[in-house]
């Protein structure tokens, strides 16, 4: 058990593909955060969310702290703050729960998401 990675335990790329619609639908339906996704092309968003999920699932990704900062700068200017990051992490958790992930794994995903919080909020 210990020699499998978080990404493998969650189901790898298939899990990302299964999770992306559920996750993004939750985000878009949530009035507390959906304003930050206004006017963004859906195909591009789905691609971006796949990249994000791959990262927080512990998979191979090319995200750098700099990308995170650049990518969210304009949203921070529009008021993006800790409460929004909390909501995203909450939706991540409930998405994984729906897909039958174990509690420990969900905690680990939340921890990875938390680790980029300062970059996302440009602090």
């Amino acid at each position: 058990m210990n020699d499998t990675t978080l990404f493998e335990r969650l189901g790898g790329e298939n899990a990302v593909n299964a999770a992306v619609d559920i996750f993004y639908r939750k985000v878009l339906a949530d009035d507390r955060v959906n304003g930050y996704f206004d006017g963004v092309d859906m195909e591009k968003q789905i691609q971006k969310q796949k990249g994000f999920l791959t990262m927080v699932f512990g998979g191979p990704n090319n995200y750098t702290g700099k990308d995170m900062r650049e990518g969210h700068k304009h949203l921070v200017l529009k008021g993006l703050n800790d409460s929004h990051v909390d909501i995203i992490i909450e939706h991540l958790g409930s998405t994984l729960q729906e897909l039958g992930a174990k509690d420990e794994d969900i905690t680990e995903v939340a921890a990875i998401a938390n680790s980029v919080r300062n970059d996302v909020l440009n602090r």
Binding site: V20, D21, Y24, R25, L28, A29, G39, D41, M42, E43, I46
Partner: protein, 321 residues
Amino acid sequence: MSSITLNKQSYTVEDNDSVLDTLLKNGVDYPHSCKIGTCQSCLTKLVDGTVSSESQHGLKPTLVAQNYFLACQCNPENNIVIARANENAVSTPSKIIKLSHLNANVLCVRLSIDNPNLFKAGQYINLVASDSLVRSYSIADIQSNYLELHVKLIPNGLMSHWLSTVAKIGTAAHIRGPLGECFYYNTDNETFPIVLAGTGTGLAPLIGIAQDALAHKHQGEIILIHGGVDETDLYLHDTLCAIQKAHSNFTYAPCVLHKSNGIEQASIDKILIKNLCGIMHEVQLFICGPTETTNKMKTEAFLAGVPSASIHSDAFITLKS
């Protein structure tokens, strides 16, 4: 600071300006439309220097191999020498063989082609009127010797003006492409339902895809929803009614915003969601047309439960002034 050289003239790139911004600021009449890397009308050849791989994103490998890039997506970090796209290398010569009105503000444009197998109905081409005027149009119909486009005439639009006053039967033009992933695809002969929705000339790719599905004897249901402000916008009403009569699995669902006799008065996103009811998980959904309605319908269909991978769409992104 880097510079751009075009036709022996050099221009200094300011701040974070793209190659396209720099040329336009200096008064160069350079082809462009969307400015976000979608339409490819700003296709440019790199003669000397280097450009980022992002500025080649979405280009066909043959264009990348010839050092083409998109001027609107390139922020040069060093001095570069560029040239306008060489139409002989990147496009097919064509002639206008038909120009007629489908209603007061929609033109039917037929362009001659030699090889119909290159194109799929629903994809889009770039119509090149001159070395500074290029616009994207979706393919409504493909016959052995021509492509058909439906063009909405925009007051003060450059291509609108060219098509309605300069172009005649026999006028030469070039066709670049095709581009895009919005077409009928069913290699395993499955019977999934197809729903197509769009307003205005968004109908062009949609009728192309629907006719292609019917030509392939698609067995599932096909529902085409066309929306307009009033009845005059439903520019293929009779044709679509006739297709419905001829094919038991084809339904034409028109809707308009203004009150009308016999045509449902409702916004198109409402009609779309109604028609998706019960088939969310099986449907292949095609949405095309003006950007705002297209994006709205995409989001609503997705939120209602249609998987993102089943939504195929081209938004008609236009020039930002």
